[in-house]
Amino acid sequence: MSGYRLSDGGLTDRGTTLRFSFDGTAMSGHSGDTIASALLANGVRIVGRSFKYHRPRGLWGAWVEDPNGIVDVAWNGRTTPNLRATTEPLINGQEVRSVNAAPTAAGDRWRKLDLVSRFLPAGFYYKTFMWPRWERYEPRIRALAGLGRLDPGHEPAADCAQVNARCDLLVVGAGPAGLAAARAAAARGETVLLVDDQDAPGGALRWRGGTIAGSDWRDWAEDAVSTIKAAGGRVLFRTTAYGVYDHGLVCAWRRREAGPDQLWRIRPGRTLLAAGAIERPLTFADNDRPGVMSADAALRYLRLYAVVAGRRIAVATNNDAAYPVAAALAQAGADVSVLDSRDDSLAMAECALAVERNTLPSAALGQEDLTGVLAGDLRLEADTLLVSGGWTPTIHLWRHAGGGLRYDERLAAFLPEGGMPAMRVAGAANGAFGLAAALADGHAAGGDDGPAPPVGEGHASYAIRPAWPDPAGSGRAWIDQQSDVTVKDVALAAREGFRSVEHLKRYTTLGMATDQGKTSNMAGLAAMASITGRAIPEVGTTTFRPPYVPVPLPVIAGRRRGQLFNPPKRLELEGRHREAVAGLREYGGWLRPSWYGADGAAAIDAEARAARRAVGLLDASPLGKIEVIGPDAAALLDFECYNRVSTLKVGRARYVLMLTEAGIVYDDGVVMRLAEDRFIVSCSSAHVAGVRMRLEEWRQDRFDPARVFIHDATAHWATIAATGPKSRDLLEATLPALPRQALDLAHMAVTETALDDAPLRIARVSFTGERSYELSVPQSAAAALWDRLTAGLATLGGCRLGLEALLILRAEKGYPIIGKDTDGLTMPHDLGMTGPMKKREDEFAGRRALFTPQARGADRRQLVGLAVDESAEPLPTGAHGYAPSGGRRRSIGYVTSSYLSPELGRPIALALIENGRERLGERIPLVHLDATFEAMVTSPVAYDPAGMRLDA
């Protein structure tokens, strides 16, 4: 317990006190704190436990790079797991719990697990737990793994907006390089979008400070932001550009205090990546002890939150960037000493503190908490050890975009290599370390050839001397703190042949934790390089995959939820149906009445009877109404349809099938000829878009597009079908103005007329086998027509007809529903429609495939009816017919539709049965789950086989 807050300084609002708890202990912080800074200020050392060995974990970083500060946060009655303490703002009333620890991080009951860690090296699980089977061991291991806990009662809303944005220049990172670039571009009149994941501009200037253009950096930064805005640009804080995708799209996650997070989809003309660099750890024994921290992070905690990481602080570094940290902490009152791997440097020379040269820590001392540092023979007492192993440029987005890398020996880092037309990198991300260099690099990247703003003294030197993991070092030295990967694990991977960097990652899980290896990947591949005697660039890097930081799933999912997830299509008459207490369900993408009334089963029965005895009224509006117009319309439809269309007379309609080029029945429908050069394809409601696109494809591929035109008017017209022996009476009674010849239409005839000045199309098409009229009117006239027709139902003993009753009625007639009573193998002859394939000599879609060996085979599944005893239950739909085959049962097809027929008073069924038409009269066994049945193969037509009812 050694972190504390100074009595003044920092950027938090000391006027507000926020109460929170950590692992049940009450604490407080200020507005402006992160959870991490508040924990540190309250003296918390152990913030969690490592994933595998349950080692104690303290804060290592101060931002997204931190591997350890992962917490579950309950607030307002809801818990959100796996929040990052270092980036999560402190809110009054938060209950913060450590993850992977119970009951508390400090008192974790699994902490002894580390004692057996020698038996649990990388990939140990591949070598054991095989007898008798993995599942014997898995539940315990599974329970031990995972980080936070999901709150089953917390269902976050789908309220994250997706914002599309364009700009001339997107600048990622509002540090010195990003600000300079954005400022220069804006000054040249470009529209700049500047995004940064912190809540204020400045980047590292915010804790490292500096003088730019002769005054405090804040003045310059403020001026830069004003310049951007004045030129029409925007600056977004708390916004993380997390991925670059094809065609230059940049996705960014924006956090907002006042509302839900947003996903920004940005299409920039150019992108400048100025995301800075991340400090690397040093690798020595027990370097994962709480109290070992990134030097830069300690400075950040000091400057932004006035929190000092410890009282007796050792700073260990291999570069100059840690010296300002040491100085600042000493000034804040800590007892600071410095260990440096180098013999001399500019910063070392200027340093007023004691510096141990040519020395780096060999071990951290202490058990659950740091007590000292061992550096060779030197033993230092310390409660805190700040380390800097150098800096790793943040070039993730550059890599997402496909940019190359080169290894720079002088900077001991991978840097962007080569150019890309739409992206470049500047500042520390580009290896331009130090304020002056970063500023100059950004300034030039922003398009300004002139001199960059001058900076004050003291930011120039870096002078890194690489200090990579030492494979020969004693003890256990951590590379990946969250995943518990040590140098020994890397050595083991190398020994076992997992030397490719991708194998290393997968075998040891290095870099696969929630921090995504931001601090561990470089050390890992440097260790592998050293162990295998290769240079670092020979080992290479793993793929940089988006997202740069874990992004909440709702941000990506957006508002697609509930009714906004594949919205169902709605009927114009939905309100009317609801008034009539319709049960609405989805059929073929449309929300349609299943039945009318509270009791579904009774309603279906009554509706089906009414349609057979009197009249049923069906909202058939989703039926396709694709107009095919022009001198070549008939020829196009001849090609599209299995049945010839050109021989159809004007005013007549024909039932057709449409086939894929593989000969499979794609859809069925009715084609109506309204004029020599004008047809309507009334395909099934689920297939309208597909049929329209097929027609377009053939039209544009093999016809003269100037001679045939396709217009899908499905959504423009409502269709109401009156079906039943009294359908004519209904029309006569409710539509007295209807011309007589419309009532007298023959079956499969069609005519156009008008009703109340609205066009009306009437077709005698039947899906029930009863006399039927399909009345189509523009949607604007639908309600009036529906009202008039429904008004006449009661007198005639008719009723509204839902889809479920219709399904029964058509099944009684053996009319198949394509996709239900057919499958993706059904050809027209399997439905008994052999005429066109025998007679037609001309080309049509799918014809050739009807003559393959398979299509002509003797074992085709054909549509038949199945009859069971009158008293039996209907066969289960989905039951399979079978034949004995070598002691087993072989499927010979299955039941596609099955109902109790109200009219016939017995079960009926349709089925696709192998060689079914030759089995007529045969009794076949069927099986559904554990039950067996027997049924007789019949014609699919169970009702009115002679078709007498059509004109009844």
Binding site: H247, L249, M693, D701, R702, E841, A849, T852, P853
Partner: protein
């Protein structure tokens, strides 16, 4: 999110488009005289090139089919042209 150039509507997001086929394949006719193998080749076999690819796409919003040339690795689009009348 890729952007594809419809020759009629200009740049649009990829979700508005549907891939139809590789370009350059003519339907062999009279189909009745094509062998089973020949028909299978027409119907199912293709190059699936890695790199430059000429493809037929349809812009679902306007219903027009067109030829797009693009790279199947980098996803760079290098050409987009309307079908010139019939393909045969």
């Amino acid at each position: 999110m890729q952007l594809f150039p419809c020759p009629f509507c200009g740049l649009r997001e990829e979700t508005e488009f549907h891939f139809a086929a590789e370009a350059g394949k003519a339907r062999p006719e009279p189909a009745g005289q094509v062998s089973d193998d020949g028909w299978a080749k027409y119907l199912y076999f293709q190059d699936s090139p890695k790199g430059r690819s000429r493809e037929i796409w349809v812009h679902l919003a306007c219903g027009e089919f067109f030829v797009m040339t693009r790279d199947t690795v980098t996803h760079e689009v290098t050409g987009s042209e309307a079908l010139s009348g019939r393909s045969r």
